[in-house]
């Protein structure tokens, strides 16, 4: 019953940046608590090597979750990120194996990700279907296309030169981490500094008002899904670079991790709300948790339990520190 009163309660009168970092602070506290617990329980958890591992292991989910955050802000959801990644991966990979120059193969993978997003976006924005169902349908369809294309077999033997692109490191940080950090920076700029960011927030916040104010609703939504598709394709390139092979079943259940990261980071599935910094922190929370549980040698059933409980705990901490999501 406290429900509504809280709901309508005012937020402190700070300026935007401060308000936003207040929310992100909640997520940050969640991360710090989790790091502290694991640090206390697991010797070597804070070793530089392990911290880099955590970042690297979080990078793919972070990449997807950034796209997911934009889609969620626009009032949608994208369940098809995993199959989009798989489709992009197998096509790029078979081009690479066939000897196509890297830039062309990579560009084709990206174009495919954009195309997958475009289909989602059109079905949502122009046809007016519910995002959850659209992307549930394309989740199956894209996966099936990847399987049909490869006959279910992995594409092996990616050229070493290609793998080096996504596999190197710079200043002691894995390139994947640096790429995703750059993507996050761009996403942050988009959301905070570009008209498109304002449009996303407006479309998700009140579609009808945004429409009257001249916001291009359909284009905004479609762009969000296309970015999500593009980032899924980027995640796919990073992954196949790392694995040296592309499989049609790659990206299984990625959508859930990405949504969890965005939600832990403060995105509201009702739309109109979400934070790039929060999402990144959310992805690192999930990554740190997996890493810590493994290092503690927790049995997989208990890891599963811990995963569930930590998602809930992160949301709770977040809820307590920053007020209603």
């Amino acid at each position: 019953m406290t429900d509504i009163t809280e709901h309508t309660a005012a937020r402190p009168q700070a300026d935007f940046l401060r308000r936003f970092s207040m929310r992100d602070a909640g997520t940050l506290i969640g991360l710090v608590v989790i790091l502290a617990v694991f640090g206390a329980l697991v010797p070597g958890f804070f070793a530089e090597r392990n911290l880099i591992n955590i970042l690297q292991q979080s990078s793919i989910n972070a990449c997807l979750a950034l796209g997911m955050t934009l889609v969620i802000i626009s009032g949608g959801i994208d369940l098809s990120v995993g199959p989009t990644a798989a489709l992009s991966a197998v096509i790029s990979a078979s081009m690479l194996v066939a000897g196509v120059p890297f830039p062309l193969a990579i560009a084709t993978g990206f174009a495919l990700g954009l195309a997958c997003g475009l289909v989602n976006g059109i079905l949502v924005a122009y046809v007016g279907l519910q995002p959850f169902i659209v992307t549930l349908g394309t989740l199956s369809s894209y996966r099936a296309l990847a399987l049909i294309y490869t006959g279910g077999n992995p594409v092996l033997g990616l050229p070493a030169g290609f793998r080096a692109i996504f596999n190197g490191s710079l200043f002691g940080l894995p390139l994947a981490v640096i790429i995703v950090a750059a993507v996050a920076l761009i996403a942050w700029i988009i959301l905070k500094k570009s008209p498109f960011g304002e449009y996303l927030l407006a479309v998700g916040g009140n579609e009808e008002a945004a429409y009257i104010a001249g916001v291009p609703i359909a284009r905004t939504k479609i762009a969000a899904y296309m970015i999500s598709g593009l980032l899924a394709a980027l995640a796919a390139q990073i992954l196949i670079g790392r694995l040296g092979a592309a499989e049609p079943i790659l990206g299984n259940l990625w959508e859930l991790d990405a949504i969890a990261a965005a939600a832990i980071g403060g995105a509201s599935l009702m739309g109109g709300k979400g934070s790039v910094i929060g999402t990144i922190l959310g992805a690192v929370i999930l990554g740190a948790m997996r890493n810590g549980l493994t290092l503690m040698n927790v049995q997989s059933f208990y890891q599963l339990l811990a995963t569930g409980l930590i998602i809930l705990a992160a949301m709770l901490i977040d809820r307590v520190t920053r007020g209603r999501g």
Partner: protein, 504 residues
């Protein structure tokens, strides 16, 4: 005197960073109709929300018949005999009228809802106000005015000891108000204490004996309305004298907008008119006559089925609001909450939404420039409180409206379409908005004002189109403007008698 039916005792309500109520005390006797007056943001709704259990006061208590009552939630308030009509319509569009009216306390037979019985009782309560509303219809199919009547009728269902009405007539016509006034008088005869909030001072003077005036969360005074003038009340509300301004025309001869045979599939049937530079064109008509729909066509929000629109002699296509905005047309919509604001975003963001191209010439928003423009425009519309980064949902309706107007100022819009621009807006802000509209005209903007308040139309318009059944029934020049003249054209001939009463 006996114990008052309702007594506010030292009520304060502090929201983070805002003190909405500060030590508010006054009382209302049984059978008294008590006005509650104040500018937008004075704290009227907040006080009534405390009374109806939606907010808990930070300090202070409410006494009913001398007994302190705990009003922790709406159910408790209802149990204590308080019925409330909320300013924002609190309804569920997918439920029927009767279901909405009995929501939260349905009549049941066994474990089932007794729909027939509910509909019968709902019809009874509606009969006094508007017998044309079908209690079984989905609420979402009703027009705003009818929804407001449903909201009022809902409060009449309970035999409450206290009825609080927060701007119950914001969408109603004068004749509907007349019927409401009778109903309220009946309540008072039965010993109910009525608290009546309205920005329409004539209504308050018409039905209330006493009134309490609030400003910035404090009680200025509780007064006997028989002993003060409207002007004195206004100056108590705004804390200064409001100059009574006269109409001044700035219309020039240049036709800016030329509309010919505009029609929509739904409501509008072949509307033609010219709009000049610097002109304020009023559009009057009965509820449902197609005014909103006409504005939506001009704003590109709906698509026309026939007709042409020309700006500066060039025909333009209006398939989306973007087209309209590009052509310099902006709409200040009727339903602010649904069509106007993005609630979670700041005043600045809401203002900037329509002019992203201006603020982000190279794709990146110039936040410093934006802040400067926001400060300038919001100063011009006199936003209060002047907190540009605060989410707009936390502002009063009048201030939300100012931000929407600021949106079009920032976008450099030349043709402004106002749909009921002062609905739910106080006298002070109303005067400000009138002033603003005139200034805009003086600067060469062209303005269309749709309003159900005839004095407003007459006060503002250089020329008035009267609409009837989706078509223009008459075009009245300033010289021939009068409430009677408008009403005569607005009302379908066959119903003249009844209609005149409605519009009286």
């Amino acid at each position: 005197m006996s114990v008052p039916r309702l007594q506010f005792d030292g009520i304060s309500k502090v929201f983070p960073a805002v003190r909405a109520l500060n030590d508010v005390s006054f009382s209302v006797g049984a059978g008294e109709i008590h006005g509650l007056l104040g500018e937008n943001g004075a704290g009227k709704s907040t006080l009534l929300r405390v009374l109806s259990g939606v907010y808990r006061p930070t300090v202070g208590s409410v006494l009913i018949d001398g007994q302190p009552v705990t009003l922790n939630n709406p159910v408790a308030a209802r149990a204590a005999g308080v019925a409330m009509i909320h300013q924002e319509l609190q309804q569920v569009p997918r439920l029927s009228v009767a279901q909405n009216m009995f929501l939260g306390h349905p009549i049941t037979r066994g474990v089932f809802v007794a729909s027939r019985e509910q509909e019968r009782r709902a019809a009874g309560a509606l009969a006094a106000l508007d017998s044309s509303i079908d209690p079984a219809a989905p609420l979402g199919s009703l027009k705003v005015a009818q929804r407001q009547i449903v909201e009022i009728a809902r409060a009449l269902l309970d035999s409450a000891r206290i009825v609080a009405m927060d701007e119950p007539t914001s969408s109603l016509t004068p004749s509907e108000f007349e019927r409401l006034a009778e109903v309220i008088a009946g309540l008072a005869r039965d010993g109910v204490a009525v608290v009546y909030v309205s920005h329409k001072l004539d209504e308050v003077f018409g039905i209330c004996q006493r009134a309490t005036i609030m400003r910035d969360g404090v009680v200025v005074d509780s007064i006997d309305l028989a002993k003060v003038s409207e002007k004195a009340v206004v100056s108590m509300m705004v804390g200064r004298e409001l100059a009574q301004e006269q109409h001044r025309s700035h219309a020039s001869g240049d036709v800016r907008l030329k509309v010919r045979g505009l029609a929509s599939a739904k409501k509008v049937r072949g509307v033609s008119f010219d709009l000049h530079r610097g002109e304020v064109l009023g559009i009057a008509g009965l509820v449902g006559s197609g005014r909103t729909e006409l504005l939506r066509l001009l704003a590109g929000a709906d698509r026309a089925s026939a007709g042409t629109v020309e700006i500066g002699g060039k025909p333009i296509r209006l398939s989306t609001p973007r087209d309209a905005i590009a052509a310099g047309i902006g709409l200040v919509p009727e339903e602010r909450k649904r069509e106007g604001i993005v609630p979670l975003r700041s005043i600045t963001s809401n203002m900037a939404l329509a002019s992203m191209g201006v603020f982000a010439p190279r794709g990146v928003i110039d936040h410093r420039g934006l802040k400067r423009v926001a400060a300038e425009k919001m100063k011009r519309v006199n936003l209060r409180p002047f907190l540009l980064d605060r989410p707009i949902r936390l502002f009063s309706g009048g201030n939300q409206q100012k931000a929407i107007i600021g949106r079009w100022l920032a976008a450099g819009t030349r043709i402004l379409l106002f749909d009921e621009p002062t609905r739910g807006i106080d006298v002070g802000a109303k005067a400000e908005i009138y002033h603003l509209i005139e200034e805009l005209a003086a600067e060469g903007h062209s303005v269309v004002v749709v309003s159900s308040e005839l004095p407003e139309v007459i006060r503002l318009a250089d020329r008035v189109l009267v609409m009837r059944d989706g078509a223009v029934a008459a075009e009245l020049e300033r010289a021939s403007l009068s409430e009677q003249a408008i009403a005569a054209h607005a009302i379908p001939q066959s119903e003249t008698q009844a209609g005149r009463a409605r519009y009286a």
